[in-house]
């Protein structure tokens, strides 16, 4: 598969439209430049430009099928953009320079850049054949190459942080949905990514279990240094945690701004309609 390449110069991306909150001097931890993604005739992302500053918490809201998840999956390298470029910490994600020319990245390059990114999935995706402890320590042990003792220490610390230190010997099947998701959060955090993606982390949970997961994510957000990309339908949560809210519809960023601005003074009609659906309940 060949990817049409588009070189986007930095001068251009720094003045990309709409990043009203970002201070220009900081190098973004994530930069999407003119990203599009299609499946056959279906275009799910249309020329997205987006910068995320280090430590910034960005919430993506919008109707299902608007492209929010796809945007996140491109960053996690689970799917390949049809055109455009993504940079992570100043380095191209899907492309690399070979002899001065921009070519599709090989697995080695992807592996290197991907290490900056972590992801929590809607359906947890824990490894069912491993205990909770092994779920969390397997990647530090194998991917980061830590010693068994170091990996275990890190994993236990992380599991304490999400309130599951007493479950380390259990298997995922023995946990509630909320507990599973907290393990999944610990598993992603233990790798100390610079950017963390939460892809509808509470959508698959029973309503009474949503709170415990949101609390954990809030606590992590409060620590500050890690950038977050939060895809959520929990509007109160987005308002509390995010520095900036992006409203997605039909593969485009329709509107963005501070939570206050977005929720109190939505400009576009589409956002107004979208939010009214939440306020009614």
């Amino acid at each position: 598969m060949s990817v049409p390449l588009k070189v986007i110069y930095n001068e251009e991306s720094t003045k990309s439209i709409g990043n009203d909150l970002r201070k220009v001097a900081v190098q973004p931890i994530v930069n999407y430049s003119n990203i599009s993604k299609s499946y056959g005739d279906l275009q799910v992302l249309r020329n997205i430009d987006l910068d995320i500053a280090p430590g910034e918490k960005v919430a993506l809201i919008g109707p299902s099928g608007s492209g929010k998840t796809t945007l996140a999956r491109l960053l996690m390298t689970l799917e390949e953009p049809t055109s455009g470029t993504i940079e992570v910490d100043g380095e191209m994600l899907w492309h690399q320079k070979t002899n001065g020319k921009l070519v599709k990245a090989n697995e080695k390059h992807l592996h290197k850049v991907r290490g900056n990114i972590g992801m929590v999935f809607q359906h947890f995706n824990l490894f069912p054949h491993m205990t909770i402890l092994r779920n969390v320590m397997e990647a530090p042990r194998n991917v980061l190459g830590l010693s068994k003792e170091e990996a275990m220490e890190r994993a236990v610390t992380m599991l304490k942080q999400v309130g599951l230190a007493n479950k380390i010997d259990a298997y995922p099947a023995q946990l509630s949905g909320g507990q599973k998701q907290r393990v999944a959060i610990a598993r992603a955090l233990v790798m100390r990514p610079k950017v963390m993606i939460f892809d509808e982390p509470t959508s698959a949970l029973d309503p009474e279990l949503v709170g415990e997961v949101l609390e954990v994510i809030k606590a992590i957000a409060a620590e500050g240094e890690m950038a977050m990309l939060l895809i959520t339908h929990e509007m109160d949560f987005a308002r509390d945690v995010a520095d900036r809210i992006l409203f997605f519809d039909q593969g485009r960023i329709i509107e963005q701004g501070s939570p206050k601005r977005i929720f109190n003074n939505p400009e576009s009609e589409r956002l107004q309609t979208f939010l009214s659906r939440f306020n009614r309940h």
Binding site: I117, F121, L126, F127, H129, A139, N142, V143
Partner: protein, 216 residues
């Protein structure tokens, strides 16, 4: 008619040959397990020539009789400088033949793994090799162990065909005993009973294993 004295006289010799039959089964099964896995992985490879080769090999081996393959390995390869003992030729032939079936078994196990497992492995930045070793295979193999057990039994029952390339397993032994004494009844009955007892008891074991795996 049935002669017990003769039966007891030839029994030790047949039991001795049973060792060959059983070891040929296990060695061939080991070959089939290893080659089967390699074929499965090769077939899934992004490198087209490799996956096409694996696919072609599987189709070819399945579409030709085991006996022809054995003759080829044992009688034709020596003409090209590769002489194998009956045992080695036999386990190679039987093992390669069944590797194509076991490859299908592995495939079933691997395809039953939800895509989320691959995605989680990628999100944690496991290399493809680590993903296979730590995440995918440990989950895909246990559920298919009973099916593999059934193939082991099938291969065991298939070993008499190795007598065609002069391997002295129980079938060959029974044939030789018969042609010495002109008594075939006892020898072949013993062979049949041995196969029955061993296959049936193994299949009971496989069934128990299946129940235990389902309980997990």
């Amino acid at each position: 008619m049935w002669n017990w004295d003769y039966t007891l006289l030839i029994l030790p010799q047949i039991l001795e040959a049973l060792k060959i039959t059983v070891s040929a089964t296990f060695v061939a099964f080991a070959v089939a397990l290893v080659v089967g896995l390699i074929l499965t992985l090769a077939r899934r490879s992004d490198f087209k020539p490799l996956s096409l080769f694996a696919q072609g090999f599987i189709e070819f081996v399945r579409s030709t009789p085991l006996l022809v393959q054995l003759y080829f390995i044992f009688y034709v390869l020596p003409e090209h400088g590769l002489s194998l003992s009956p045992f080695i030729a036999g386990v190679m032939g039987l093992g390669l033949h069944y590797s194509t079936y076991l490859s299908e078994v592995y495939r079933g196990g691997i395809e039953s793994i939800p895509p989320g497992q691959w995605e989680a492995a990628k999100a944690l930045n496991f290399t493809p090799l680590e993903t296979w070793r730590k995440i995918i295979l440990p989950q895909s193999i246990p559920p298919v162990i009973p099916v593999m057990g059934n193939y082991l039994i099938t291969m065991f029952k298939e070993t008499p065909v190795l007598s065609a390339i002069t391997l002295v397993e129980i079938m060959q032994t029974a044939k030789m005993l018969g042609s010495h004494s002109f008594r075939y009844l006892e020898a072949f009955t013993i062979v049949g009973v041995l196969f029955l007892v061993l296959s049936y008891s193994s299949s009971l074991m496989v069934r128990r294993l299946e129940v235990r795996l389902n309980l997990r």
